[in-house]
Symmetry: C2
Subunit: 290 residues, 2 copies
């Protein structure tokens, strides 16, 4: 097994453990459990682990925070799929959560997942001493990633700019928040839990921001070139939207993703640490649309 | 001005300051700002301040956490009002947020408010040294109050038990989570920020749980006896639901609220502190339905 296959198994196992232990009453328990255990690439969780391991922290001590990143991501997918948002039917090869359990339980499950992610991020904070970063600074990274400067802002602007003429800057605004912000938090938090000093955390954030944008662009390419069975979600949902593919064409978008991955790699080139996991993750993202 | 009138002004001023400083892009900024500045009783914020001041902490140092409690509460109201939930039209004397701005922005505003509340709760943590309670324990109180053990669980069970025959225990389950859990967190966090020791925090939690239940019951009574102009929200929404009024009658519910307030007061009777703010708050809740 490759490095990331073993790490993905660790993440999946941890999410299953969390799912088995949730105390939500019926009928809220099922949609939460399904969200935690449905298949996913776990790229944000892997980013947290790769950043922490690159700085010498053990994977086991990064699992709570890694699971938290995945829960925040899943929470945002549930909300994005709602009829009032993207109105999706399919997610990760199964009916979107609101299709299976109703809108009310989907919304409540999304809030519960986000909420518990906050507890997990700080639970992990005690894993390593001495602690260079206080818990409230770690929490603040999540707050910045999710809220009115992060995914929520990106989603709002995305939904309300459909049909209007968008330029590259607006598209960059949307995706640096919808996708990039949580990538940045995932990398930063992994590094912070490993006691990375501020300059190292900063470099990993630059790495993560560029990687997040590359990942989003490869998603746009796959939405254009793959079918819904392969992706496990609706495709062609971007038809009414401006995407990087519509701006630059499939080949141009591929090229842009490759360049962003190169920028990612450059930002960690001089990292005095075993940055191999971070390099491997960047290559994995690049090769999604090779 | 009474003690609580001055404290409510402080809370309102702080929420206005937060609203003025938010960096959300249009069209997300307006619904968030309106939610932060619409009028409210601020009872959860007052509870945080009263608990902290009872233990000798200055009100100014409790304002971030108090505002966070209010933001979490407002966030839950926005979600409760959605068509998929209670489908309300009126809230705090204005159209429900989704009626004014659309469901998508209402949901995103609710998530953003909850998210930023987490940042505020821990921001306040640095206010007083030495710190008896680590930040992650304070965060955990919020997690317990909001998620699958808290308001989200209460709301899910409430929505999915309509029409069925409920007993007192189920009703208590719902409201101890929908209302009680955030009251408990609000009291506990005020006490923790004031460096209250575990036994004191515990007593304030018991106080808050009973007060929260009393507050919910007075809400049920007002839903039955007041009109929507007085309350600023839809009334008669409880018609299909089992409430404490339907179980015990208006007089019985009033009596139950009074008894719960007495239990509240008893739990802080021996508090070696200036518990006057907590006593005054309990009396204020009791007198809503005198």
């Amino acid at each position: 097994m490759t490095y990331f296959e073993t790490r993905r198994l660790l993440v999946d196992g941890h999410l299953q453990k969390i799912a088995a232990a949730i105390t939500a009453p019926p009928p809220l328990d099922e949609p939460i459990r399904r969200s935690l255990t449905s298949s996913g690439k776990r790229v944000r969780a892997l980013l947290t682990i790769a950043a922490g391991e690159a700085l010498g922290c053990k994977a086991e001590k990064l699992l709570d925070a890694a699971a938290a990143m995945e829960m925040i991501h899943v929470s945002s997918l549930i909300l994005d799929d709602l009829p009032a948002m993207d109105d999706a039917t399919l997610r990760r090869g199964e009916p979107a959560l609101h299709r299976a359990y109703g809108e009310d339980l989907a919304i409540l499950a999304a809030v519960a997942l986000l909420n518990h992610a906050y507890g997990l991020v700080t639970a992990n904070h005690l894993a390593r001493s001495p602690r260079l970063w206080p818990a409230h600074q770690i929490i603040q990274r999540v707050v910045d990633a999710v809220g009115w400067d992060g995914t929520v802002a990106g989603e709002a602007v995305d939904l309300h700019s459909e049909g209007s003429t968008l330029d590259f800057n607006t598209l960059e605004f949307i995706h640096s928040r919808k996708t990039g912000a949580l990538f940045v938090a995932a990398g930063a938090i992994g590094a912070m839990l490993a006691n990375g000093d501020p300059s190292v955390v900063r470099r990993i954030e630059i790495y993560a921001r560029n990687l997040g944008m590359a990942f989003q662009i490869t998603d746009d390419v796959l939405d254009e070139t793959a079918d819904s069975r392969q992706l496990g979600k609706d495709v062609g949902k971007d038809a009414g939207k401006l995407t990087f593919v519509r701006l630059a064409g499939v080949e141009g978008a591929r090229q842009l993703a490759r360049e962003l991955v190169e920028t990612s790699l450059a930002s960690i080139a001089s990292l005095r640490a075993t940055a191999d996991p971070l390099r491997e993750l960047a290559v994995m993202v690049r090769d999604r649309v090779r």
